[in-house]
Amino acid sequence: MIFALLQRIAQMLFVMFGISVLVFLIFFATPGTDPAARIAGRNASPEVLEAVRRSFGFDQPMYVQYLTMMKKIFITGDLTSFVNRGWKVVPAVMDTIPVTLSLVFGAAILWVVFALIIGIVAAATRGSWVDKTLMMLGLIGISMPVYWLGEVMNLLSQNRYHDTWIFSWVPPLGYKNFSDDPKGWFLTLVIPWITLSILYIGLYGRVLRAAIVESLQEDYIRTARAKGLSETRILLRHALRTSLVAFVTLFGLDFGALVGGSALLTEVVFGLQGLGKLTYDALLNLDLPIIMTTVLYASFFVVMANAVVDLLYMLLDPRVRTA
């Protein structure tokens, strides 16, 4: 147990190191590009270029440059933006984290609840039109680009039907702090939560249905039936239970994909000042220090979240410990 735990942590550290090297190489060692020119931005004067070269130490060997950059991002935290000079990047990133987490956690609650309902109902009515309709709706949910869905939501809730009773409660786009205005926080996030969760409701509903249908073929289900248990009890207490293992594993994987992708697009569409929106704004300004930092922080968060899920999994399921 302890060994497996240490092994998983070592693997996590290795992957984090690997990602930091990869990001460093992408930004600083792509063939045929001058990193100083890119960090300084478009139309940089020679003095700025020279200052960038010196402050990042591009004249030094690669590994020194790498260590300097990591120190600036993770230890001293004094990396500054080159578009808004003097603007410290690390505190700016920290400010965005509550926004992104509010968005992601709310959506996660929605998608787990609805995916469970859809998966169970579809599995219980497998083969019927209810099952087929639910699975088709799930597939449509998976096939919609999340940012486009967000725009459609905005069009309906902010404009076309904003004056009707359905959407009159929707506040203008933007984020409100939970500590200042809990009701406003909730109301501004409802539409983004729904938008973000639809893809995952479809995905998880389909996966859960498949897992339940598969586990219904198992011997222990036959035993349960032979014992005379009701179908409902077999479905909810026996089949669902094993199927949830797949569900939980996926959750860890997708949580990562979410923070690094769908959440970014959702934040951009709904004007939520989260980690993704910060990255997007930096992207438009070609503000490389910010992108570098957000990419590193977000991917580290993702790697750690995955490791935590694996560790929980190890605690829950003894079979994994020896694997």
Binding site: G18, G32, T33, S143, P145, W148, A257, A298, V302
Partner: protein, 340 residues
């Protein structure tokens, strides 16, 4: 085991595995319908130049002073704005007349319908070529790692672990921001900065671990199978074993991945283009048109709605097709649709 296989073997000529799979696919009505829709979309997009010529419009240059004839009246493409202070111009809305600003115009007075078709061509091209890139590198890495094992496997697997843990969009953003401005120069290969090959390369690379890992797993199992061990024992060269014995056995998995990866790539391409790091203007893709439509969302929603609907229909068709192909070719596989 079942009656069906009994009757199959009773037929005088037994069909090969490919023919069986094809029959199974053709029996799947949803998959056949999806294939039909997908082919229809491809054909429509291929007709983009024909449509543009017929509608007498150039979808790549701004035509702010163009005039449309509707019901015998001349209407300027850019109308004086009636909202707010009355400053600025609003492009014309959908006329619903084919060849005559069917879906209206965008901010630069360009025909949205013509751009939609040209954009679809680029979206399909990028999704398809990126799939080729992904499958090529994934097969190469998966075969090498699974077959040779040892240090090669360790190196490749650890590298794939890192790529896998890296959120797809963040990796794509990092690559794009560096490459979009200056292009890529790898000595043998040079990609210009505005080229479509840039998004193809970026999207192709970020999904490699998604395909390479299952391939490696299969090769690992095949490596221990009797026919491969026999070939090794006979002294058949490795490349020959890989090409003749192992590759054919992973080909079903690769084929199942084609529509699924195309669907995923299409969504990714549109997202990157929406973030302005995919297809670069004046070229269009469905993602860039949605971005163009963002500023017109409340006045001319069709500019953003139409390409989104096109994406949903195409991706849905590809996903249904992927489902059908998997059931026909590789029913026990665990390949999952739509992870990004």
């Amino acid at each position: 085991m079942t009656v069906a296989s009994g009757t199959l073997s009773a037929t005088p000529k037994s069909r090969g595995p490919w023919a069986t799979a094809l029959r199974r696919l053709l029996r799947d009505r949803a998959a056949v319908f999806a294939l039909f829709i997908f082919v229809l979309i491809v054909v429509l997009c291929l007709l983009a130049p024909v449509y543009a010529a017929w509608a007498n419009t150039d979808p790549f240059t701004s035509t702010l002073d163009a005039v449309v004839h509707i019901n015998g009246q001349d209407v300027p493409v850019m109308e004086q704005s009636t909202e707010g202070l009355g400053l600025g111009y609003t492009p014309i809305g959908p006329t619903w007349q084919i060849g005559n600003y069917f879906l209206g115009a965008d901010n630069q007075g360009r025909d949205v319908m013509a751009r939609l078709l040209y954009g679809g061509l680029n979206s399909l091209l990028i999704a398809g070529m990126a799939t080729v890139v992904t499958l090529f590198f994934a097969t190469l890495l998966g075969l090498a790692a699974g077959f040779f094992g040892g240090i090669i496997d360790t190196l490749i697997s650890r590298f794939l672990d890192i790529l896998w843990a890296f959120p797809v969009y963040l990796l794509a953003i990092s690559l794009s921001i560096v490459l979009i401005a200056q292009g890529l120069n790898l000595g043998i290969i040079t990609i210009e900065s505005g080229s479509l090959w840039l998004p193809i390369f970026i999207i192709g690379v970020v999904y490699v671990p998604y395909v390479a890992r299952p391939i490696r797993g299969q090769v690992l199992a095949l490596r221990e199978s009797d026919f491969v061990l026999a070939a090794i024992g006979l002294g058949v060269p490795s490349y020959r074993i890989l090409l003749r014995d192992i590759l054919p056995n992973v080909s079903t998995t690769l084929i199942v991945f084609v529509p699924i990866m195309m669907a995923l790539n299409m969504i990714t391409e549109s997202a990157l283009s929406f973030l302005s790091i995919g297809v670069q203007p004046p070229d269009a893709s469905w993602g860039t048109i949605i971005q163009d439509g963002q500023n017109l969302l409340y006045t001319r929603p069709m500019v953003a709605l139409a390409p989104g609907i096109a994406i949903v229909i195409t991706v849905l068709a590809l996903n249904v097709l992927g489902d059908g192909l998997r059931d026909a070719l590789d029913p026990r596989s665990k390949i999952r649709i739509g992870r990004s």
